[in-house]
């Protein structure tokens, strides 16, 4: 067991013995280190003013990711490199190309969101050559600006590639940094804490399983995109935090031939491409979950395990027929994902048990999958309704198989059992679909809240079935406002 947190702040190795298990990176920077360039805008990972870049070891290289410092716990940086806005200027005081582009394009007005934008742009600059407009929008979706209307910042995102040479950039030497980070890697359980509270970060699955048996009241933390808010908003005091992010075996996606086995620690960002290759529209859905910073931290396992009725991956996974693998000690069990969600706030997870992986079957020939996320805003918003559909028609145009699942329509992500029955075996016609739409009204009794009224949720859920019908029957119809429009008729 290692009782010292180790990470790089820029080029400086920091080793810390006593750390509050839920101290955020932002509070550490601002309050302990007096590095005040990084700002707090919302303390819930929704505005991006606190964006920092974290480099983590990925094979023989370092992967740089924009993350929200406000909801990330400091101890999760173990083995990583933290870059803040103060690191960007050169030794001679010259602005980094990203900074110079922001200045030249008039990308700042009040300047408060600017350090966060600069860091999101830095991650983009380090990772991608000349991204297109969609990628720039995606890379900046997690940064709110109230002054500029974003246009000059997008101009800067294009211009920064004219301002410097990425290959000779100060942060480009990933091999050397990777060596330094490798030297920090070990197979020990990290155990740090303060005031009798502990942060435990196992390195292996058996360690994790044992820690959970030994600490039944512990809070499991993966990306902290939800638990972070318990701390910053509700000021909850967590006695023991068990962090899954160091467990490399949980961060793997295994191709089993007929299915992908997605480890519970796989982030949205890590999973996006692999899932999109199987289910393009699922990839599009992931593009719209949170924003870049959230997708770089949040995990699909966490999205399932926290049991929220408005998580976006569960409806899609349920529609795809995914199963969940749970583990307790050495014992594992698998169950269809929809059975995991018992009722609001209650899941089929026993004490000491944890989500180990989700198993996503590959699509069969002729199967069509669609997912639709409805919210007030396209990016970085929580769904009012999220609907996912898997449809197979037989040679006669009859519904041979259909699975429908919705989020935001009940206390859990839930299948539309009644509508599925109505549709199954029928000819896939507008009349059939209208009957299915009616049946949906009996499947769900949604609530009214600030995201949407019950009536809107019900209407939209039904209309999404119609959208599925149009997309699968009328190749000429335009149905999509955002993302890759070709997905509509894929």
């Amino acid at each position: 067991m290692r009782q010292r947190l180790r990470f790089y702040l820029g080029d400086e190795l920091r080793e810390i013995d006593a750390v509050d298990p839920t101290l955020t990176v932002l509070d550490w920077l601002r309050l302990s280190e007096r590095r005040v360039g990084t700002k707090e805008g919302c303390a819930e990972g929704d505005c991006g003013a606190c964006t920092v870049v974290v480099g983590r070891l990925d094979g023989d290289t370092v992967r740089y990711e924009a993350v929200n410092a406000c909801i990330r716990f400091l101890a999760t940086l173990d083995g990583c490199r933290l870059l803040t806005v103060e690191h960007l200027k050169g030794p001679d005081g010259a602005l980094h190309p990203v900074q110079q582009a922001m200045v030249d394009c008039h990308g700042s007005q009040c300047g408060f969101c600017t350090p966060g934008f600069v860091m999101s742009l830095l991650a983009l600059y380090l990772n991608e050559e000349r991204p297109d407009g969609q990628r720039i929008d995606d890379a900046l979706a997690g940064n709110l600006c109230r002054c500029t209307g974003y246009e000059p910042i997008v101009r800067a995102a294009h211009a920064m590639y004219e301002m410097g040479d990425r290959t000779t950039d100060r942060f480009a030497d990933r091999a050397a940094m990777a060596e330094k980070l490798k030297a920090l890697r070990d197979e020990e359980i990290l155990s740090v804490g303060a005031g009798g509270r502990r942060f435990l970060a196992p390195a292996t699955v058996p360690q994790l399983a044992q820690l959970l048996l030994d600490n039944p009241g512990a809070t499991i933390v993966a990306g902290a995109t939800d638990v972070g808010l318990w701390v910053t908003k509700f000021q909850r005091v967590l006695a023991t935090v068990i962090y899954t992010g160091r467990v490399r075996d949980l961060r793997r996606i295994e191709d089993r031939g007929d299915a992908l086995v997605i480890g519970a620690g796989v982030t949205y960002s890590d999973a996006a491409e692999r899932i999109a290759a199987l289910y393009p529209d699922f990839g599009e859905l992931i593009r719209r979950i949170g924003a870049e910073q959230v997708r770089n931290m949040g995990t699909i396992g966490g999205n399932i395990a926290n049991g929220s009725p408005i998580g976006d991956t569960p409806p899609a996974l349920i529609a795809c027929g995914a199963t969940l693998r749970l583990r307790r000690g050495a014992e594992t069990r698998e169950l269809p994902l929809e059975e995991f969600f018992i009722e609001y706030g209650k899941q089929d997870r026993r004490e000491g048990e944890f989500v180990e992986a989700v198993i996503l079957p590959k699509p069969a020939a002729g199967e069509r999958f669609r997912a639709y996320k409805i919210a007030k805003r396209f990016d970085q918003d929580i769904s009012a309704v999220c609907g996912a559909f898997r449809l197979t028609l037989d040679g006669e145009g009859r519904v041979a198989d259909i699975r429908i699942a919705f989020g935001g329509m009940a206390g859990t992500p839930k299948r539309a059992a009644g509508a599925e029955v109505v549709l199954l075996g029928r000819h896939w016609t507008e009349e059939t679909v209208r009957q299915g739409m009616e049946a949906l009204a009996d499947d769900y009794a949604p609530l009214s809240d600030w995201r949407a009224s019950a009536a809107y949720r019900s209407t939209v859920a039904a209309n999404l079935l119609m959208k599925l019908y149009v997309e699968t029957s009328d190749p000429a119809a335009e149905t999509r406002l955002v993302g890759d429009r070709r997905l509509a008729h894929a």
Binding site: A49, V85, M102, Q109, G111, D138, L144, A291, K376
Partner: protein, 793 residues
């Protein structure tokens, strides 16, 4: 046209930029003076200032009830919480327990016996850390006796109609008679939601106690002088004992015009009572609960018009949710009436305001200050006429524009003398290809099963000046040092709008030195006193002129000195690109300054400016409240998903009038940013209160402002060229802070146009704001039902 309104053409217009010109001259697209600090994290905001030793952190205990008597308060658990040093309530206020800006004594710093909205402060707790103070604030045990709460405009208007301040009526002609005689009449009701400012830097103040009861306050505010007055009032101090300093704000938008008083007063109280520095920064969720927002309105309108769509009479009642106290609701609802004409001539009109008291947070200033709500009403009326007559709304808009020589009297009896809307709109109509796109969209919609497009071109005319005439004054202070470097100070606040940059350009221009010579310094009530709020788009108009006056005073002293010292005529002393020519002598600016110093010439000066020509008689509803008008227009195209109500903004073309822009880059930023903020207000930004009066959209997770991808996909922004202000404003520029906000109306109307297509444009959709996907879909369903119920003959 009265003589006093004649354009003053005596002020020379500065030449255009040439290689011989200084860097950062007026009209140059100079970068923001703090840009390099913004991008490196070096720009210091209040929370970034090094904390004095022993600083206490303050947090507020808030009401959980909308309207209740406080039966008992037990603060002992708060006092006993870890780290707590002191707890303060209304009983601890040495002066007056009142932070209201209007002198009505309706806004206590701390509620003591009665709470009037959820989130109202009841006490403050000071602790060693912010985390401790925040935890302790939750521990108070309060017993309430609930009282009936009035939460909505409807409940207030249809109930007792209690007002927070006196309403206003504007009258021109005989509206009832005009309506009675009009060939066509339409009436309806329009609902417009409020808006949270969502400045990225939340409210914050830090007070540092000094000698003899003095206190220095660093606070994120648009109105340091008001903070100074309120703190003096609360602490029972003379104003001279209170100094307020603001270097910059992380956004304000009106939300820090009066709302910062609370935070400043609280920290000042703690500093005075404990002798320790004190800081208060609410969490974002609490900031949402505690501070006022843009007023939501419901507007009842009646309009009478002829067969050609020409308006004959208008009658409108503007019911606004003021919240529990007056704050700025009086001037805000006044400004709604001042803009209920937008750019249109009403031969007869009656416009009334109802600033209604509700048990919600007291609403306040927000970019446009009521004007936008008035203008949205005007545009709704235009749409009603267009649908009633089956004409394109743009045609009706153009038909009703103010004239130049006639048809130019406003409902407040000011004559519009600078109207450029007809030409400006004609130019945009052409450059945006409005009519061709109208046809293209018709064709697209005819062939599209699910997606529908909409198009709208809406104008903006916005009155510039504070309607409280005494606010239209400003001071500045300029110091020239013996090395030739210059410090600049004025009463305006830098909140991102580039004010410090523009005013520095003015001073650079006056001395003909590069802008790098000028160092803007933090706004401080000890340097320039009795300032006005940086609001009403007035920042550069007022402070630019004041700084110009200060610079000219020093320049004149330098000229007089040089002329005398070197024996030349004063007009032989010329300032040119960091140098001064004195006859045939050529010296650096610094050399001249040093020589002047040795000759005991005063190198520091104050400057002062007051806006000419304006006056306003509120009781009579007559006067000239505005020095001039700023104009603009936007053409928006949207696509709506008729299955979900979602939409995207495909393209926006803007043509905006900045007069002769002081800084085209900064003005463009104001236009783009203002447009997107205005669009957000009318589309996705929704304030949602529950039945207990609790705001449930109280953070960015639930309250959605536009994100990067929501901006128009094609965004063509142009500044109107060759259009110097006809009034003698600073270098003939025009104010630009608020006017572009209202360009966002084009999106609401484009959405309405797309929605109307589902029923063949037969019915006015009456799309209310915010036009969330839910509201758009509801509107589509209603139109389809209506069309089905009355099939076209």
């Amino acid at each position: 046209m009265p003589d006093s309104m004649a354009p003053d053409v005596t002020t020379p217009i500065a030449p255009v930029s040439t290689p011989e010109r200084i860097q950062g001259a007026v009209h140059d697209p100079r970068r923001h003076e703090s840009a390099h600090k913004h991008v490196s994290g070096e720009a210091v905001y209040v929370d970034d200032i090094a904390e004095p030793a022993g600083l206490l952190h303050v947090y507020l205990g808030l009401s959980s009830r909308a309207h209740a008597r406080i039966r008992s308060i037990d603060l002992s658990p708060v006092r006993q919480a870890p780290g707590v040093v002191a707890v303060f309530t209304a009983a601890d206020v040495p002066g007056v327990n009142d932070i209201g800006c209007m002198g009505k004594h309706d806004e206590p710093l701390f509620a003591s016996t009665l709470v009037e909205h959820v989130g109202q402060p009841i006490f403050a707790v000071a602790a060693e850390t912010r985390d401790q103070a925040r935890r302790a604030a939750k521990l108070a045990v309060l017993e309430y006796e609930d009282l009936p709460a009035v939460l909505t405009i409807a409940a207030a208007r249809d109930g007792e109609r209690t007002l927070v301040t006196a309403p206003m009526t504007l009258r021109v002609g005989d509206a009832d008679a005009a309506l009675a005689e009009a060939p066509h009449r339409v009436e309806g009701r329009l609902a417009i939601g409020g808006q949270e400012h969502f400045y990225l830097e939340s409210q914050i103040a830090m007070a540092v106690p000094g000698e003899d009861g003095e206190v220095l306050i660093h606070v994120s505010t648009q109105h340091p002088t008001e903070v100074q007055h309120i703190v003096a009032h609360v602490l029972d101090l003379p104003s001279a004992a209170v100094t307020v300093e603001v270097r910059r704000m992380g956004g304000g938008f009106g939300g820090k015009e009066t709302q910062s008083n609370l935070f400043a007063a609280c920290t000042a109280l703690v500093a005075k009572r404990t002798g320790r520095a004190a800081k208060l920064r609410p969490d974002r969720d609490d900031d949402f609960q505690i501070t006022g927002k843009r007023h939501d309105f419901e507007i009842d309108y009646r309009v009478g018009f002829d067969d050609s769509g020409l308006i004959q009479g208008v009658d409108m009642l503007f019911a606004a949710r003021a919240g529990y106290a007056a704050d700025l609701s009086g001037p805000v609802t006044d400004r709604a009436l001042f803009h209920a004409d937008n750019g249109y001539f009403y031969p007869a009109a009656r416009l009334e305001s109802l600033p209604l008291k509700t048990n919600t947070v007291s609403n306040t200033a927000f970019r446009g200050f009521g004007g936008p709500q008035g203008m949205v009403a005007a545009e709704r009326v235009i749409d009603e006429i267009a649908f009633a007559l089956g004409k394109d709304p743009l045609e009706i808009r153009k038909r009703n524009f103010y004239g130049s020589e006639d048809r130019n009297l406003t409902p407040y009896h000011q004559t519009v003398t600078d109207n450029i809307l007809p030409e400006l709109v004609a130019q945009l109509e052409e450059s945006s290809g409005y009519w061709q796109r109208r046809e293209d969209i018709r064709a697209f919609n005819a062939g599209s099963r699910i997606l529908r497009k909409g198009l709208a071109l809406t104008p903006v005319k916005f009155g510039i000046s504070f309607t409280a005439s005494h606010y239209n004054q400003a001071g500045a202070l300029v110091h020239v040092y013996t090395d030739g470097s210059i410090q600049l100070n004025h009463g305006g606040i830098e909140m991102g709008q580039g004010l410090y940059t523009k005013v520095a350009q003015v001073v650079a221009e006056e001395f003909q030195v590069d802008i790098s010579t000028i160092r803007p310094t933090a706004t401080n009530t000890g340097k320039v006193p009795n300032t006005s709020a940086t609001a009403a788009s007035s920042g550069s108009d007022l402070n630019g002129k004041a700084a110009q006056a200060a610079a000219r005073t020093i320049r004149e002293r330098l000229v007089a000195f040089a002329a005398e010292n070197w024996g030349v005529a004063p007009d032989a002393v010329r300032f040119q690109r960091n140098r001064v020519l004195v006859g045939d002598r050529d010296m650096s600016f610094a050399d001249l300054v040093r020589a002047a110093y040795m000759a005991r010439v005063q190198l520091s000066a104050t400057g002062f400016y007051k806006t000419p020509k304006i006056h306003w008689d509120r009781a009579a509803g007559r006067g000239t409240p505005f020095y001039y008008f700023a104009y603009g227009a936007a053409c928006a195209e949207v696509t709506v998903d008729t299955l979900t109500g979602e939409y995207v903004v495909d393209r926006v073309d803007i043509l905006h009038d900045c007069g002769r822009s002081l800084n085209p880059a900064i003005d463009r930023g104001q236009i783009e940013g203002g447009f997107v903020q205005g669009m957000g207000w009318l589309t996705m930004e929704e304030l949602w209160w529950d039945a207990q009066g609790r705001l449930r959209t109280h953070a960015p997770s639930t309250y959605k402002i536009p994100a990067c991808s929501d901006r128009p996909r094609i965004f063509n922004v142009a500044l109107l060229e060759n259009a110097p202000n006809r009034e003698d404003t600073i270098f003939r520029s025009k104010a630009v802070g608020e006017p572009p906000f209202m360009l966002g109306m084009s999106v609401l109307h484009a959405l309405s146009d797309a929605v109307a297509s589902v029923a063949g444009h037969r019915f006015c959709p009456r799309l209310d704001a915010p036009a969330t996907p839910e509201r758009v879909l509801g509107c589509i369903a209603a139109l389809r039902e209506r069309a089905a119920a009355s099939p076209q003959s």
